[in-house]
């Protein structure tokens, strides 16, 4: 089950487009369910049982067809994994949830896996296959990897076995020909949840990271979550005003970069929908929108 989550249905289409292109290229089968709903994570802060039910519904829909869930969003990834764990450990909560889902003839049993697209690229497709199919080497690109928070914490669900020093994105980028060195701000959060309450403060911290990436000479920032992508790509003008310094950082999804390296055109991977100055990045590897 390809689970997009709210942000992608709303505006972050390029993530889904590029992800699907890669999955199709490597023959990874998936099914889209238009009847899916929000994973419920925001409602964890309002009523835990509501979140558990919404998350369980997604998993139950997948289970009905014997599918695992493939998520594109960090928030959904953690939400489903955590809900699954809680429901498996608490028979009462599982019963409550199944009572509600039962009216739709759905049942959650937890016998499925929740995978992040990055893990699927790493495990199911594999670096070897990717490297064999690289047509356009991303040579000369120095990229800042942004993992976000929920792909790494809590440790038990982390997509990288070393969550304090993750390298899974870097290794994929290296196979594509780019370099992705460590930088001190790597671990900074995109502050998306705090922006519900204090947008200025969130922008200040986002600006801090973007500015650092810019000053350290990176050609762009790589994301694996639509919430992070949106946080950094859409507000650069506003943030520039706030930080009193021009911030112009290309922010691009890992899946889009992989697509480019496989020989797809920028439009094919939805780069025409990115809201940051990606032309600069494309120019460095000899690509453009025309």
């Amino acid at each position: 089950m390809l689970y997009q989550g709210c942000m992608i249905w709303s505006s972050q289409y390029q993530y889904e487009i590029s992800a699907r292109k890669i999955l199709d290229f490597f023959g990874v089968n998936y099914k889209v369910f238009p009847e899916q709903q929000c994973c419920g994570k925001p409602l964890m802060c309002v009523n835990i049982n509501t979140w558990l039910t919404l998350a369980a519904r997604i998993m139950a829909i997948a289970e009905k067809e014997g599918l695992d869930v493939l998520t594109l969003c960090n928030g959904c990834y953690l939400s489903l994994n955590e809900a699954r764990k809680i429901l498996l450990e608490s028979p009462e909560k599982k019963e409550l949830v199944n009572r509600i889902l039962g009216k739709e003839d759905l049942k959650f049993s937890g016998e499925l896996r929740i995978k992040h697209i990055v893990s699927v690229i790493w495990e199911d497709i594999g670096l070897k296959k990717i490297s064999e199919n690289v047509k356009v080497k991303l040579s000369g690109l120095k990229l800042a990897s942004h993992y976000g928070c929920h792909s790494l914490r809590p440790k038990e669900f982390s997509i990288d076995s070393n969550p304090e020093n993750p390298r899974i994105i870097e290794e994929i980028l290296e196979v594509l020909g780019a370099e992705s060195p460590y930088y001190p701000e790597k671990n900074d959060c995109c502050m998306i949840l705090m922006s519900n309450v204090d947008v200025k403060g969130a922008d200040l911290l986002r600006g801090k990271k973007l500015l650092a990436i810019q000053r350290r000479g990176f050609d762009g920032m790589v994301t694996i979550c639509p919430l992070c992508q949106q946080s950094y790509e859409t507000r650069q003008k506003r943030i520039s005003k706030m930080m009193k310094e021009k911030i112009s950082v290309p922010v691009i999804y890992l899946t889009q970069l992989i697509g480019l390296a496989l020989g797809m055109s920028p439009r094919e991977v939805g780069l025409d929908l990115n809201m940051s100055p990606v032309e600069r990045l494309l120019g460095k590897i000899g690509l453009s929108f025309d």
Partner: protein
């Protein structure tokens, strides 16, 4: 026992064992820009029973759930989870933050926390999902409201 109300919501928290190492504050991005926000202070106030004050102050809605505090706390206090428990208690008392009420209403309305906004492409066109030939969500409103209602959400969803 202290913190019982919190523990009923989230069983794995250990608010009373915090010995004040301040590691959570050192790594908290919110604490960096908000001087009144200290994760361990919220935990201590919560388990000592100052829940009204915490809810009134609104400080519990700032946490961005980056989970650095919970992950690195040497005593497994899980401050971020204490915040979630407090938000649940606040909601039960009708004090949910408006941003979350909005998200809940959107989920009831269309199954997502935001409606479809579309995106401005590089060619200055507003693109939506159908323009790209990818599936458009279909949400069953009554189903979603039922799920929210039956799971006990303490909000007026404007049914």
């Amino acid at each position: 026992m202290l913190g019982e109300e919190l523990r009923k919501l989230i069983s794995w928290i250990n608010p009373e064992v915090c010995f004040g190492c301040n590691k959570c504050v050192s790594g908290c991005p919110v604490a960096e820009i908000h001087s009144e926000y200290r994760p361990n202070r919220i935990v201590r106030l919560a388990y000592l029973g100052f829940i009204d004050e915490l809810i009134e102050s609104g400080v519990i809605w700032y946490c961005t759930q980056c989970l650095k505090c919970s992950e690195r706390c040497p005593m497994e206090v899980y401050p971020a989870s204490v915040v979630v428990a407090l938000r649940n208690i606040a909601s039960k008392r009708g004090k949910t933050h408006e941003a979350w009420i909005k998200m809940a209403k959107n989920i009831a309305l269309q199954g997502k926390i935001l409606p479809e906004m579309g995106v401005m492409s590089i060619d200055r066109k507003l693109i939506k999902r159908k323009d790209l030939g990818i599936e458009v969500p279909n949400a069953d409103r009554s189903l979603l409201i039922r799920i929210l209602r039956e799971s006990g959400i303490p909000l007026d969803l404007g049914e």
